[in-house]
């Protein structure tokens, strides 16, 4: 449940981080584009300023420059249009302003073209007027020559023009009289130049007026302003989006951190608990092992008691017999000697029994080579009295008598004893005419295996897979510890690297002690 939450929060975090990165890239592009468009707009403004300067200068000029400027401005406006389309800027104000700018540009270019031709004409006719004026007795002050327009304006606004016309008529008449053709030609030229200047100067004023009306600069400013406000809005929007995403990332990181912290703490607690439990278990195991050993000891004591009872009885009887014969003075030396030998024999027998048990109890300190058949014999020997008491027949079948392994013999003995004891206990619950335990020592695939088979009814199917669990027992309270088979399995696995397997047979069970 908790990991499910973690995955979801991690996924959300990933999505939000992706959103943040996407927005960051997006805003970066937007800033780049906006920078680009802004630069182009400023460029147009600059070029327009140059053009404005150029069309104020009516002193004649190299028109390549202004022609180049108009094509540059055309090109840049086209570029801006392209940029705006490519960036999907659908702001109505911007598009409207751009359209207005384009319209104004067409007019502006017309004005520039007209200006060029007017400029050339005005420049020439003005110069001509200055040249011819002295020839027709018109004085133009030296200082007035500097400022082009003012001179011509004064020339035009004053009565001079009328005077010239009058003079022209007068002279014309005179000239006809005098047949001074060349003089007439000069006056004629002067009048024509002034006329051309006047009409074209009015045209220039008109285009200047038109130029002011177009107010191209204002149109650029409008576009710049709408673009900037749009840009600011978009950037603000992007910034807010980024802010929100960043905040979400931080919040999620925080949540995630907290969650991870909690999880970590829970894990730590769990670890502690587990350790604690494991330790507790180990302790219990130790205790149980102790118990099991004690139980085995108890078993042994009772076995010894069993084995000793008979010789003790015999010795006691011999003792009673001797004392009876002595009180009746019928004790013969021969009888004493026989009795002594008999007692000695019995005590030796008892001593042997002790030896056998002692061997069993004594823990082996180191691994030794031993014969499996010997071990099985020893265990059978120990258990014999009990088995005989229970009418259990034991058969040992050893195909190869010399199978020997290296290991702790006493541990293997414990395992076999355990299995014998289990079989013995199982037989107690049965009423069978024939009870048997078959022991087979064999090699299977060069692995020595001791098989212990009985006909004590076997283990119920439903608990078959639990029999090796610790503390699992079917025996009545106080009798079983539930640790026997667990310990046996433990011994086989840890001390022999082997195994202990159970198989159900017809009416009984078969345990295989696998030694490796």
């Amino acid at each position: 449940m908790r990991s499910y939450k973690t995955i979801i929060s991690a996924l959300l975090l990933a999505v939000i981080s992706f959103g943040l990165i996407y927005n960051l890239i997006n805003i970066n592009n937007k800033i780049k584009n906006s920078f680009h468009i802004n630069r182009e707009l400023t460029e147009i403004k600059m070029i327009n300023r140059d053009i404005e300067f150029a069309i104020l200068d009516t002193n004649g000029q190299n028109y390549d420059a202004i022609t180049e400027k108009t094509s540059m401005i055309k090109f840049t406006v086209l570029h801006i249009k392209k940029d705006i389309q490519e960036n999907n800027i659908n702001n109505r104000d911007i598009i409207e302003n751009l359209e207005e700018l384009e319209e104004a540009l067409i007019k502006k270019i017309e004005i520039v073209e007209e200006f060029k031709s007017l400029d050339a004409i005005l420049n020439n006719t003005y110069k001509n007027c200055l040249k011819i004026a002295p020839l027709v007795d018109i004085k133009i002050e030296e200082k007035d020559k500097i400022v082009f327009r003012e001179v011509m304006l004064s020339l035009l606004s004053s009565n001079k023009i009328k005077q010239i016309f009058d003079k022209h008529k007068l002279n014309k008449i005179k000239s006809i009289q005098r047949k001074l053709y060349s003089n007439i030609k000069i006056i004629d030229l002067f009048i024509r130049n002034i006329e051309v200047y006047r009409t074209h100067f009015i045209k220039l004023q008109n285009i200047n007026k038109k130029n002011r009306e177009i107010n191209f600069d204002k149109k650029i400013d409008n576009l710049i302003n709408t673009y900037i406000s749009y840009d600011e809005k978009i950037l603000l929007y992007s910034k807010v989006t980024i802010g929100v995403f960043a905040l979400l990332v931080i919040v999620f990181l925080f949540i995630y951190y907290k969650l991870a912290y909690k999880l970590n703490k829970i894990n730590e607690n769990l670890k502690e608990t587990i350790e604690h439990e494991v330790n507790k278990n180990r302790e219990k195991e130790k205790q149980l092992l102790q118990q099991s050993k004690l139980a085995q000891m108890g078993d042994m004591v009772s076995m010894i008691a069993h084995q000793w009872r008979q010789p003790l009885n015999a010795i006691s009887a011999t003792g009673i017999n001797l004392s009876l014969l002595s009180s009746m003075n019928m004790l013969e030396d021969k009888k004493v000697q026989e009795s002594g030998e008999f007692i000695q024999e019995q005590t030796q027998k008892m001593s042997k029994t002790i030896d056998t048990f002692m061997n069993f109890v004594k823990p082996a300190k180191e691994a030794k080579e031993f014969k499996l058949s010997h071990t099985v014999d020893a265990v059978t020997q120990i258990m014999r009295t009990q088995l005989v008491n229970h009418n259990i027949k034991v058969t040992i079948e050893s195909k190869d008598k010399d199978i020997s392994i290296v290991g702790y013999e006493d541990l293997l003995e414990q395992v076999i004893i355990n299995l014998f004891a289990n079989a013995r206990d199982a037989f107690e619950e049965q009423t069978l005419e024939e009870k048997y335990i078959n022991i087979t020592i064999d090699m299977k695939n060069s692995i020595p295996i001791i098989t212990i088979e009985d006909n004590a009814g076997g283990i119920p199917k439903d608990i078959e897979d639990k029999i090796f669990n610790p503390y699992f027992t079917t025996k009545e309270q106080g009798k079983g510890t539930g640790i026997g088979l667990y310990m046996s399995m433990d011994i086989m696995k840890k001390s022999f690297g082997g195994d202990l397997r159970y198989k159900a047979t017809d009416g009984g069970s078969r345990f295989e002690i696998v030694l490796k």
Binding site: G60, Y63, D64, E110, K116, A120, N123, N128, L189
Partner: protein, 310 residues
């Protein structure tokens, strides 16, 4: 605002003092795409572009004749006569627009116009394209340069690129402008002075000594040609553009007779006289006209390099 005016005024006052030359020499390192230009050259000389396989671009634009054909009006398919004097192709890249009336905004647009003009090549672009597509060599060369092979735009582009290469740099006058003052004779230098003083330069300035503005023909005296050509009015349909024509370049002017859009002026001397009378409103002596003529003859440049290559 007042400050701006002051600045402007001072600028205007300083401007003449700087004595900036109003004419600029042709740059020696002008750029064009050589591969495309070679293809364009082939097209330029190919009569296949015309309806009856008789007329090429080069029929009316002969390099040796200053990029024009020496006729008042050129002859197209079926012996049809045009109504305008063939303008030079040389240095056309420096013009603000193409054609006498500026009806072609650039060389690419211009290059296709004679193909469809009924009195020039009398063909259609579609026919030209299918004709070219039948030619394996053209097909191969177009595909080498253009991804989409033979198309209208690519045809125009190739011819444009060739025309861009048709530049005549290093005229004697250009050398003079670059600082070799001894290249011009005294007479020629005086001619240049008169050219400036009398205001020819007001319209004939810049890199192409013309070609950068439209001007009315007949400023001081009304001029109407026999066919009553309306000039730029045909393009803009604005009455103020009546009788306005693109000011032609004066480069290689000595070779491109006859003169004016109607080809009515047979020689340079008469043309100068005509221009002074109709356009400038001045009176010049024969000697002065002579000097201006000798100056104009210094404007002949070197033949375009692309014509040397085979």
């Amino acid at each position: 605002m007042f400050k701006l005016k002051l600045l402007l005024l001072s600028l205007l006052l300083i401007y003449p003092l700087l004595a900036v030359e109003l004419i600029k020499p042709i740059p020696l390192d002008f750029k064009y795409n050589k591969e495309k230009a070679e293809l364009g050259k082939k097209l330029f000389f190919d009569t296949k572009l015309s309806r009856d396989n008789t007329i090429a671009c080069a029929t009316c634009h002969i390099m040796e004749l200053g990029g024009a054909d020496g006729e008042a009006y050129s002859t197209g398919v079926d012996g049809l006569k045009g109504n305008m004097n063939s303008p030079t192709v040389l240095n056309a890249r420096y013009n603000l627009a193409q054609m006498w009336d500026g009806s072609a905004k650039d060389l690419a647009e211009q290059s296709l116009m004679p193909i469809e003009n009924p009195v020039e090549m009398g063909n259609t672009i579609d026919v030209v394209i299918s004709t070219l597509k039948k030619d394996k060599l053209y097909k191969k060369e177009f595909q080498k340069i253009y991804v989409d092979g033979i198309t209208k735009d690519n045809l125009a582009d190739a011819i444009e690129e060739f025309e861009k290469a048709l530049v005549t740099p290093n005229s004697r006058f250009d050398q003079y402008l670059r600082g070799s003052k001894d290249v011009l004779t005294q007479k020629e230098k005086e001619g240049y002075r008169l050219f400036k003083e009398n205001g020819c330069i007001s319209c004939h300035n810049g890199i192409n000594i013309g070609g950068n503005l439209y001007q009315k023909l007949g400023i001081l005296k009304t001029y109407v040609d026999k066919l009553n050509s309306q000039g730029r009015f045909n393009v803009t349909k604005k009455s103020r553009d009546k009788y306005y024509f693109k000011v032609p370049s004066l480069r290689n002017i000595s070779k491109t007779a006859p003169y004016l859009h109607d080809g009515t002026q047979k020689n340079l001397h008469d043309t100068i006289e005509f221009m002074i009378d109709y356009q400038l409103g001045m009176i010049l002596t024969e000697q002065e006209i002579d000097k201006i003529e000798s100056f104009l003859k210094t404007l002949d440049g070197e033949a375009p390099k692309i014509m040397d290559l085979k």
